[in-house]
Symmetry: C2
Subunit: 149 residues, 2 copies
C-alpha cells in the first residue's frame, strides 16, 4: 500500500502539498493488479456456487455481481502507454493491438453489467448461464494479453 496516497488525501486538511502524478507506470501496474485481485475476490464465490461447491444463495450472488459490475469499467485506465515495462503480466501486445484490447475490456464490462441485471431475478440457472459468459470474457482477454505464469 502506498502510504503517500493516504497522506495526500489527509493533507487536503492541512493544505500541505504532497504532489505525485496519477498514472505513472508503476502506479498503474499496482492499480490494475489490485483491481484484478478485487474482481477475483468477488468472482470466487460466484464460481463456487456455479460449480456447486457451495449452496446457491441468490442474494449473495447478486451482491458480488453488483460489485463486479461496478469494477468492470475500471480496467482500461490501468493500462496507460509506457506501462508495459516492470513487474507486470501484461504483454506488450496490448498496446500493439489497442483497439482489440479495448474491445475485449468492453466485452467484460457488457457481460458483467448484464450479470448484475440478470441476478436481480434470483434465478439460479440464468445466473449460471450469464456467469459463464463473464468468465469467457476474462479468459478471452487473458489468453491473448496476459503472460502465462
Amino acid at each position: 500500500m502506498n502510504k503517500s496516497r493516504l497522506l495526500a488525501a489527509a493533507s487536503a486538511l492541512t493544505l500541505s502539498a504532497l504532489a505525485f502524478a496519477h498514472g505513472k507506470p508503476d502506479d498503474a501496474i499496482d492499480y490494475r493488479m489490485g483491481l484484478m485481485t478485487v474482481i477475483g475476490w468477488n468472482i470466487d464465490p460466484l464460481g463456487a456456487m456455479v460449480k456447486g461447491k457451495t449452496p446457491f444463495d441468490a442474494a449473495d450472488f447478486a451482491k458480488h455481481a453488483n460489485r463486479i459490475a461496478n469494477l468492470s469499467d475500471q480496467i482500461v485506465e490501468g493500462f496507460p502507454k509506457g506501462s508495459d515495462q516492470g513487474h507486470t503480466d501484461a504483454k506488450p501486445d496490448i498496446w500493439a493491438n489497442w483497439d482489440d484490447f479495448q474491445s475485449k475490456a468492453k466485452d467484460l464490462d457488457t457481460q458483467a453489467k448484464l450479470l448484475a441485471e440478470v441476478a436481480k431475478a434470483n434465478d439460479e440457472a440464468k445466473d449460471k448461464e450469464q456467469f459463464k459468459k463473464v468468465a469467457e470474457t476474462c479468459k478471452a482477454c487473458h489468453d491473448k494479453y496476459k503472460k502465462k505464469d
Copy 2:
C-alpha cells in the same frame, strides 16, 4: 495476480475442480491491499481537485466518488481472524479492538456514500467539504490500525 483465481472461473465451463478456500489469510491480505490500492487510485484525482492541483470537474468528481462509494463497504471482509501474520501493514490491534475497527470502517462507508450523494449536486464547495470528511475517516483508522512505514 493469482492465476488460479481466473482458472477457477474459467473451469466452471469445463467442470474441472480447482478448489481453493476463499478467505485464506494470504488471499485476504492480497485482497485488502488490492482494495486499498483501487480506493486510493480513485481518491487521488479528488484530492488533486480539492487541493487545486487540477481544475475542478464535477462529472469526474462524481465518477470517482461513485466508485469509492461502491468500494467502501468491502473493507472489513478483508480482515478475517488469523490474517494478522505475514506481509501486512495491519496491526494486531485490529482484532483486539474489533468493534472499534468495524465502527471506523462503517464511518468510512457512511462518509463515502454521502460523498457520492453530495457529488450529484455538482457543487465544488460541498464536494470539497465532504471529501475532507472521507479523508478524515481514512486517517482515523490508519492512525490507529496501520503500521507506520
